[in-house]
């Protein structure tokens, strides 16, 4: 059985930006360390004149060469040690808004994606990745999506809010259509892509990263995105799963008020399109009553040291004996295989 880590990370480094081409090189992020008033030193990227953080969310339980993908063999060896067959790689820098400048966004996304494709080319089975799209310019985003599909990407990275739009906004419909055609799911990952809301909420992780994703997932379901795009798969990544019962309850109070709709207690458990990455400290027997067996996946948050990080999450799930072994197999293998479209691998 091939276990799939549905949420692992890379830490961007200087090499990430070596793929900038031509005049885009002027947008190269500059690493900087700042002595903060607290007495601590913090690391940032300078991007488009802004200090962009997140460079200190580093899991010290991983080696630098592994988390920055400087040594692929080292990463793969570590994956062997922790019992992980495949990792789906998400970014670190882009967990927050990075720029409002479409040209900078396009340049950075292109470089990041080419770096990721290069990494994938070293082990096409075990290292898959989520593409970062320049969503400020949708036509370019679609070009990038098509390119990534042929270069190992198995998902589209999105945050709870993207650009200046909520996720059910028609602005994204062409993306959802093309993602459906390419059999690439939308991974709504813990994070936010809008400066204004992020700053208003003080960048507070629970609010801007977790609740925004739950809100985005809720709005996509309530506004019928799965029905409008029946081949699209949508996942909520790195926000745990303990909120699932709340979401299902709330949706079922709202559905009957919508024209032609009725309550759907099985909105998740009966869906083939909706997925959620859980954590080992979720009350899984309870969550499963609402999510069903075919919805949950799990990730380690490899490379990070935040609230969701649990390097040995996959092994722990197997060992803790809380749920039926056949459901564990689904969470570790079948469900992420289905979500990320890895069946053909």
């Amino acid at each position: 059985m091939l276990t799939i880590d549905a949420d692992a990370h890379v830490i961007e480094c200087e090499k990430t930006w070596d793929y900038l081409e031509g005049s885009d090189k002027r947008y190269r992020p500059v690493p900087i360390a700042v002595d903060m008033p607290t007495g601590k030193k913090q690391n940032f990227w300078i991007i488009g004149g802004r200090l962009i953080g997140g460079r200190d969310n580093i899991g010290q339980d991983t080696s630098k060469e592994s988390r920055e993908m400087a040594n692929i063999d080292s990463r793969l060896k570590h994956m062997d040690e922790i019992g992980t067959g495949v990792q789906v790689l998400y970014p670190t820098l882009f967990l927050r808004p990075v720029t409002d400048n479409p040209a900078i966004e396009l340049a950075l996304c292109r470089s990041y994606n080419r770096w990721m494709a290069d990494i994938w080319s070293k082990d096409k089975k075990r290292l898959r990745w989520a593409v970062q799209l320049p969503l400020l310019t949708m036509d370019k985003a679609l070009d990038e999506l098509r390119w990534s599909h042929g270069n190992g990407a198995c998902a589209v990275f999105m945050r709870g809010i993207e650009t200046h739009h909520v996720l059910h906004d028609p602005y994204f419909f062409s993306l959802y259509e093309e993602a459906s055609r390419l059999n690439m799911p939308i991974g709504i990952h813990s994070g936010i892509g809008n400066f204004t809301v992020n700053e208003m909420l003080g960048g507070e992780p629970f609010r801007v990263a977790k609740l925004m994703v739950i809100g985005g997932f809720h709005s996509m379901i309530l506004n019928g995105i799965p029905e409008k795009f029946p081949k699209l798969r949508i996942g909520a990544i790195e926000v745990a799963a303990q909120w699932v019962p709340y979401l299902v309850h709330d949706l079922n109070l709202r559905f009957p008020k919508l024209a032609g709709q009725q309550a759907r207690p099985d909105v998740l458990s009966g869906s083939h399109q909706l997925f959620v990455a859980c954590q080992t400290d979720d009350d899984l027997p309870y969550v499963l009553q609402y999510a069903g067996e075919n919805c949950l996946m799990i990730g380690s948050d490899y490379g990070h040291a935040d609230n969701a990080s649990e390097l040995l999450a996959l092994a722990k799930l197997k060992d803790n004996g809380e749920i039926d072994p056949h459901i564990i197999d689904k969470i570790l293998t079948h469900n992420p295989t289905k979500f990320y479209g890895l069946d053909g691998d």
Partner: protein
């Protein structure tokens, strides 16, 4: 037994603003309707913005929902088996104005209107005061007015004046609330234009409910209950099904910082949460404990949380042991609101 409806509403009308000072009349909200008459409801016009008057339980008589006929309202409460209702506003569910003078005028007038209504039946009603948060120089005076005129709580939205409720901007409010023995009541609502406008077409989940759950998390995470050890906090009209998620998340964050996490985070922080009858209450109680749940009907409204029979249903459906139901219907709201 005194059954307390911990979350009922009044629908404001033109007379709500009769208490404005002469100098404030320019800020008076007006009721306006679309000229094409397509909308089944009208709007408040205030400071150049319109606020739909759509969340109205139209099955209730006007006199009961606008509290112009208290005997009608009380008769209905008797039919529902409710002894006391704590009244929340409707107008202030959304952000109203960025102008401190407008904000002060509408909050002061609303508070005086409510005080005058409630003083006619103080045993049957309590009310929450709306604080003028953009005019901190008037805050103490207004809170004192509320305390002396029967207010049993202070209304807050999940976000206020473009700030999170853990912001030091509100510390003075919390200090005064503690001194006056008035709880803060964080109601499903949003007082920040930034996020309210961003989620313009959201039906209330992201802009109202999640804003309040975020407030709960931020207040606990930033130690507001420890800083103000007499402050009671209510989380109102967002159901209770979310508690386990917030508790799981907080527990992880506390552990990462080497901080011990309370066994019962609600009880130890004097936090009360309104539940709904469709919550999985047996599961919720594992996290909330028996002493910190209350319940409301959302009387007067027609939104997602409205359940006019909620209190009777909780009693009759027999899901919970009778002593626990008694606590939710009586002991807990009495303790929270100081009734």
């Amino acid at each position: 037994m005194r059954v307390i409806d911990a979350d009922a509403h009044v629908i404001e009308n033109e007379s709500t603003w009769d208490y404005m000072l002469e100098s404030e009349r320019q800020f008076k909200p007006k009721i306006v309707g679309a000229t094409n008459a397509k909308d089944p409801f009208d709007y408040w016009l205030v400071d150049g913005r319109v606020i739909p008057r759509s969340n109205v339980g139209r099955e209730l008589p006007v006199g009961a929902r606008e509290m112009t006929d208290l005997s009608l309202r009380i008769k209905h409460m008797d039919e529902l088996g409710i002894n006391c209702q704590v009244i929340y506003p409707t107008f202030f569910i959304t952000p109203i104005s960025r102008r401190p003078d407008t904000d002060l005028a509408v909050t002061r007038s609303y508070n005086r209107w409510m005080a005058n209504i409630i003083r006619k039946e103080p045993d049957r009603f309590g009310w929450v005061l709306v604080p003028p948060l953009q005019s901190t120089e008037h805050l103490a005076e207004e809170l004192k007015y509320g305390k002396e005129n029967g207010a049993c709580g202070i209304y807050l939205r999940g976000l206020e004046v473009e700030r999170m409720l853990s912001d030091p901007y509100f510390h003075s409010l919390y200090e005064q609330a503690s001194a006056l023995d008035l709880p803060i009541c964080v109601h499903s609502a949003n007082g920040a234009f930034t996020t309210y406008d961003f989620f313009a077409d959201d039906p209330g989940f992201s802009k109202f409910k999640l804003a309040v759950i975020g407030a709960f998390h931020a207040l606990v995470f930033h130690g507001i209950p420890q800083r103000f050890p007499k402050l009671r906090i209510g989380i109102i009209e967002v159901s209770a099904q979310w508690i386990s998620y917030a508790v799981h998340d907080l527990r992880r964050r506390f552990a990462r910082r080497g901080k011990s996490f309370p066994k019962n985070v609600l009880q130890e922080n004097r936090i009360y949460v309104t539940c709904q009858t469709d919550d999985d209450l047996e599961d919720v109680l594992k996290y909330s404990g028996e002493d910190n749940l209350v319940i409301g009907t959302d009387y007067g409204h027609a939104d997602n949380a409205a359940e006019i029979e909620a209190l009777r249903k909780l009693r009759n459906e027999g899901r919970l042991p009778a002593p626990v139901v008694d606590k939710i219907l009586q002991d807990n709201p009495a303790a929270f609101y100081g009734l």
